[in-house]
Symmetry: C3
Subunit: 139 residues, 3 copies
Amino acid sequence: MKYKKFGEHYCIKLEKGDKIIEEITEMCKKENIKLGFFNGIGAVDNVTLSIFDTTTKEYSENNIKKDLEIANISGNVTQLDGEVLVHSHIVLSDEKMGAFGGHLKEGIISVTGEIVLRKVDGLIKREKDEDIGLNLWSI
Amino acid sequence: MKYKKFGEHYCIKLEKGDKIIEEITEMCKKENIKLGFFNGIGAVDNVTLSIFDTTTKEYSENNIKKDLEIANISGNVTQLDGEVLVHSHIVLSDEKMGAFGGHLKEGIISVTGEIVLRKVDGLIKREKDEDIGLNLWSI
Amino acid sequence: MKYKKFGEHYCIKLEKGDKIIEEITEMCKKENIKLGFFNGIGAVDNVTLSIFDTTTKEYSENNIKKDLEIANISGNVTQLDGEVLVHSHIVLSDEKMGAFGGHLKEGIISVTGEIVLRKVDGLIKREKDEDIGLNLWSI
């Protein structure tokens, strides 16, 4: 993973084998980014998506190992218990162009990932919402 | 719905039961946002998508009531007849991760919506394009 | 195609018959945009997607001619051999709302395209990665 900073924009190049969430998280820690959002494209060959069940308040997971385009990845950077929390959803497409997606637990880059992250001066903390069962923005 | 302004960026937290288009529209009116664009993720459990038929120049609608992830929501804020007009498309995914999408007429948040709207200093008006049959950007 | 510049943001209105990649490329050349990223929505009726095969290092192409919503288009502007290179992925949806997507080779607008491009002061060059077989960001 490599990145280059241009003002408030971080252009992130994810490389073959890089874990998307892990790498963005590390960069934010290193660069002291407390709030931001990102958008990008690329390709993965191993991805774990999760779906939150609002009734059981549990995530079910699906791991997929095959060549997939990242048609879109979108997410944000906030703080949970004083640590960087990267929350991202993803849209993938397969060799027949069929699309699927969801909450990105983690994905491993196959070809490249081209992501632009915009740092925002400020801070948003996450706190556990007991009704919902998730760590939501506290604003 | 709650939001926090950081410079030109509005971080919008949509809450269970919130109507996406309605809430963003209200915020733009209140904050006097005439031009902007947004991007986000979240989850809905009731959503109405519409598809424009270029031949009949009419929209057909589909209402879906079930737990869905917002894999991506993208849109813009412009002006129609002096009023805020929020135009948004959405990509959704279901419990099997299958994706679908289209023009978002309205969607109701189930868990949360995390949207960042960037205000742009300027103005774009929409005007009816008689050939197309829609209110398009007038620039 | 028409566009209007507001500070570092270019609001691009693509019109019926416009080729997406071609028009954004032309605008970037004209405006001397060397680095940027964009996001948008719209509708096409003729689109060519391509999928990169990491084994053969070749793209396979699919051309689709029918009314489709652009649920999301995301991409970036960099430089290849001193020329503007627009790299974009897209998520489309059909009349039954089914979504598909991938690398956008080219697409022709049917109704409208509403894209916001953010120019970034800086420069990213692409260089051929011999292992991967593609022109990747060189940073």
